[in-house]
């Protein structure tokens, strides 16, 4: 199995052949291919045990097609460390689709540490899609520090498309200034002995800054999930919402720790957290239409994680 097989699996081959679509494909720490479009600079540096990636979006540049970042590991055992710097210039716009493809992993560690700076009135949208092996022999550690300048916008969506989670520890710290918007969505489905930890901390430090942290997690078998979502608002008219739903089945375990901290009388942050088995009325409605309990549960979880 080589990198091309992985890219095929992720369904990105077409995009990678398009000269108008920017991409960067990395096999462990080696750059396999790269394509840039006007307004976008990507520099890489392969070092011992780490790959450094610097992404710059020029001021005012609008990158129209999503940029594909492909991080693959063809081997069963490997360690991948990505050190990433992202600078989105003033009024620039970019959407990044990050494909993390580890379909054969039995003992793989993938770690990403990112520093992301989104300039004034700029927008950075980041979608992370994972393909894992069915054995769960994986440890994935995505972490980032995100700074949003005035009027900047940042959104992420984390999704496991296929395979088992293994160990996942998401760790994000975000700071939003005047009129900025930050949105994080994570959807994870844990099975077997998967271990999921989501830690997202947002600081709404500017007037009218807005933030939303959304987590949707399902755990079954012996899987565990811990979700720690915190929003702290310190400026007038800052608005935030933390929303965490976890569904547990079998011997799954889930913890949700939503923290909302408000230190300005004109700021407003709310939270919702629900942990439990599937809602009885939802379940019984589908069962009253002829689905058995497992099919109904499956459909409800599929919706929640979609």
């Amino acid at each position: 199995m080589d990198m091309n097989n992985l890219l095929e699996m992720a369904g990105v081959n077409g995009a990678l052949q398009d000269p108008d679509t920017a991409h960067l494909a990395i096999d462990v720490h080696r750059v396999m291919s790269k394509n840039l479009v006007p307004g976008l600079q990507v520099e890489t540096e392969e070092a011992e045990g780490v790959i450094r990636v610097r992404i710059r979006v020029e001021e005012g540049a609008h990158i129209h097609r999503p940029v594909h970042l492909c991080f693959g590991i063809t081997h069963q055992q490997a360690q991948q460390l990505i050190d990433m710097d992202v600078e989105v210039g003033r009024k620039a716009r970019i959407e990044v689709l990050s494909h993390c493809i580890f379909p054969r992993a039995t003992d793989v560690r993938h770690q990403m540490q990112a520093r992301i700076h989104v300039g004034e009135d700029a927008s950075y949208r980041y979608l992370e899609k994972h393909i894992h092996s069915d054995r769960g022999g994986l440890a994935v550690y995505p972490s980032a520090q995100v700074e949003l300048e005035r009027g900047a916008r940042f959104s992420t969506d984390f999704e496991l498309v296929r395979g088992r989670v293994g160990t996942l520890a998401i760790d994000y710290v975000l700071t939003g200034r005047y009129h900025s918007i930050l949105e994080m969505v994570s959807r994870v489905n844990g099975r077997g002995d998967d271990d999921i930890s989501i830690r997202e901390v947002g600081y709404l430090v500017g007037e009218h800054a807005r933030g939303a942290l959304t987590s949707r997690v399902a755990v079954r078998d012996r899987a565990q999930a811990q979700v720690y979502n915190k929003l702290r608002a310190t400026a007038p008219h800052a608005r935030g919402h933390v929303d965490c739903k976890e569904i547990i089945q079998d011997d799954g375990k889930a913890t949700a720790i939503p923290i909302v901290e408000v230190v300005h009388p004109l700021a407003h942050v709310t939270h919702e957290a629900a942990i439990g088995s599937v809602d009885t009325k939802q379940l019984e409605t589908l069962m009253a239409r002829g689905l058995d309990e497992d099919q109904a549960t499956e459909l409800i979880i599929e919706g929640l994680l979609s």
Binding site: M287, A288, G290, G303
Partner: protein
């Protein structure tokens, strides 16, 4: 003999008797109305027939086509063709209308598109929406009926099918009821509305967990027309000049 027979049904929840010695038959292919004041036990009767959690532990018997169903789970009852449209239907985050209807659909039955058209929801606008909080109350009720139509059930209970439905759309609900009937379904309408009640041939009047009266619909209708007043003991509605002494 009815297609579904309830005999001497009692249901006690947390020490309170909610259904008290209810005996009645629903006739195959007919439309029935179940009426009575708030808290009379109408939805509870439906929940007991459907076998919902918390409503399964009944005394007495419920028989479908001559066989007792009280030991069956909700889906086992549904597989026999018994179903329920909830008074306040469930919401599902992220689940599309298409998938929700697909889950209910019977082989060779009417399509999701046809069912949506029937209840007055445009398939182009609704198929890809989520069955979540973003649907209005009335839209969700119409969708609940659509999910019944695609299922082609044999015995269906519609709990307040008109609640939250605007006057202009009401005829769509009636058309839905008629098409269920044309499919050969036995229909039970739980309602507070005279117009909905008039869709039915038979009516059952409940109060305080008891079946107070039953008969052809016109004979039960006066209950709505001011001739029957809730009496002051146990909220039991009575008919003019009966044993409770109302005039």
């Amino acid at each position: 003999m009815g297609i579904l027979e309830v005999s001497n049904l009692h249901l006690t929840i947390n020490g309170t008797r909610i259904l008290n010695d209810v005996t009645l038959d629903f006739w195959e292919g007919h439309v029935h109305a179940v009426v009575g004041p708030n808290g009379a036990g109408k939805s509870t009767l439906a929940a007991a027939i459907m076998g919902l959690e918390g409503y399964r532990d009944v005394e007495g018997d419920i028989r479908f086509e001559g066989q007792s169903i009280t030991g069956l789970s909700v889906d086992q009852r549904a597989k026999k063709g018994i179903t329920l449209a909830w008074q306040e239907p469930a919401r599902y985050e992220g689940l599309s209308v298409a998938k929700f209807l697909g889950a209910a659909a019977a082989d060779g039955g009417i399509t999701a598109e046809e069912a949506l058209e029937q209840v007055g929801l445009s398939p182009a606008r609704y198929l890809h929406r989520a069955v979540d909080k973003s649907l209005s109350g009335g839209e969700r009720k119409k969708l609940e009926l659509a999910s019944i139509l695609v299922m082609e059930p044999r015995f269906v209970m519609l709990d307040e099918p008109d609640s939250g439905i605007d006057v202009a759309s009401l005829h769509k609900i009636f058309e839905g009821i008629q098409s269920l009937r044309k499919q050969g379904a036995t229909v039970v309408l739980i309602t507070h509305s005279i117009t909905v009640m008039k869709q039915a041939e038979h009516a059952f009047l409940f109060c305080g967990g008891r079946l107070i009266d039953k008969g052809r619909t016109p004979s039960i209708l006066p209950y709505f027309e001011g001739e029957c007043l809730p009496c002051d003991h146990q909220n039991v509605p009575t008919r003019g000049g009966d044993e409770h002494g109302h005039e």
